[in-house]
Amino acid sequence: MQIQKTRKIEALTSNYAVAYAVKAADVDVIAVYPITPQTTIVEKLSEFVANGELNAELIHVESEHSALSAVVGASAAGARVFTATSSQGLELAHEVLHIASGMRLPIVMAVPTRAVSAPISIHNDYGDVMNARDVGWVIYIAASAQEVYDTVIQAYRLAERALLPVIVAYDGFLMSHTVEPVELNDEEEVRKFLPRTPRPYTLNPRRPVTMGPLTSPDWYYEFKYQQVLALQEAYKIAKDVDAEYSRAFGRGYGVVESYRMEDADYAIVTYGGAAYGNAKAAADLARERGIAAGVVRIRLYRPFPTADVLKAISGVKALAVLDRAIMFGGPAEGPLYRDLAAAMYMSGVDKPAVNVIHGIGQRTMYVEDLYKIYTMLREGPRKEVVFMGVRI
């Protein structure tokens, strides 16, 4: 695959980047319900369809529960589908999340993340996606508009190969409504990268099957175990797809990204554009002030990239997990911290790790705040939760 000729760089928000990726992927059915901050995706898609640039049926459903239900039906009929939502919409669709993965239907859903009510907040944090982290969907968390564009395309290839639905998440507002440079691929190249692959079963009168049967205790567990295997398999497929994409279009991200970790003593492990970007700036600041600091970003959040993230943090003396969601009542409130702590424990890795919770309801994560994480780590080992940025 040679690098394609014309390099089209556009100035796009992450939401628009999603729309351009969906257009390039020759999607057949889109079902979306408006909700801040996702709405501009469906607005841009509506323009593409109205102008004949995108040959798709756009279903203006009456709720997010119906949005996901409609793309489940369309995917089951063999169509390539897209939907998108945030916050309350993802909560309303939650019932169908389990069903989509249980039915092993390839679906791609963009989620510009937003805090979850109550109290209501239209601003960014990861409370919505983190509440959907264990429902059997593959979950990417992108950190730039370019990566959003590339990841949506990769998501279709992975979904159709792994037969699993995929969420592509990214910061609401801080990325969804932030204009950045995005290099768009040649759409024919994208279509070649996403060939129409036959599915084992679809709703077709020539080969009738029954989807969504009732399973008794003799059967249900086996199908759930099938999903466990499928998600484990998706870890490898995600790496392959990223490599194939990189060969085809010159951009790749891996499943975990490291910044200045080669000789780092202390690391922040985090996700999402704002947290990662500000953490990188804090690491630079820390190095200027004599601390060997680095950052690790989780790009593929589900399936959890245990091997890759443990490799990335292997050299540090201590680390902080910067979480942007509160999962109430657990041993630690940060979802990524829980994942990483378990991964470390299961692999016999006993490094001091502190769980820093910040950016809740889009509370600004100043670089100076994140720099203090490194000084805190240097002061001495600790294993606790630190709620940073909140008036206590």
Partner: protein, 103 residues
């Protein structure tokens, strides 16, 4: 009998064989079973029409019944008859009798 393993099952619990409940006999559900007395049957089709299980067969052929010749005959396929008795209840000539299921 041993049931298939997780990896041996169709992905996503899809049932690939249409109409496969046919393999399951519901005959054991009934305490009474319908018997068609062909001599009284005037071929009105109501039993065939209303059977919830679709288990009354419409057999083509030449059938002489009491001086009349019909081109069809109705027979109950007992594998799937649940003994509900709707056919007997709807039969205008009371040609269908509900008899106890032999123990």
């Amino acid at each position: 009998m041993t049931l298939p393993k997780a990896t041996e099952l169709p992905i996503g619990a899809v049932v690939t064989e249409p109409g496969s409940t046919r393999r399951y006999s519901t005959a054991g559900w009934r305490t009474l079973k319908p018997v068609i007395h062909d001599d009284k049957c005037v071929r009105c089709q109501l039993c065939w029409l209303y059977c919830p299980e679709g288990t009354i067969a419409e057999v083509r052929g030449v059938f002489k019944v009491g001086g009349r010749t019909y081109d069809v005959k109705y027979e109950i396929i007992y594998d799937h008859c649940k003994g509900c008795g709707i056919c007997a209840n709807e039969c205008p000539t009371k040609a269908i009798e509900m008899v106890p299921e032999a123990p």
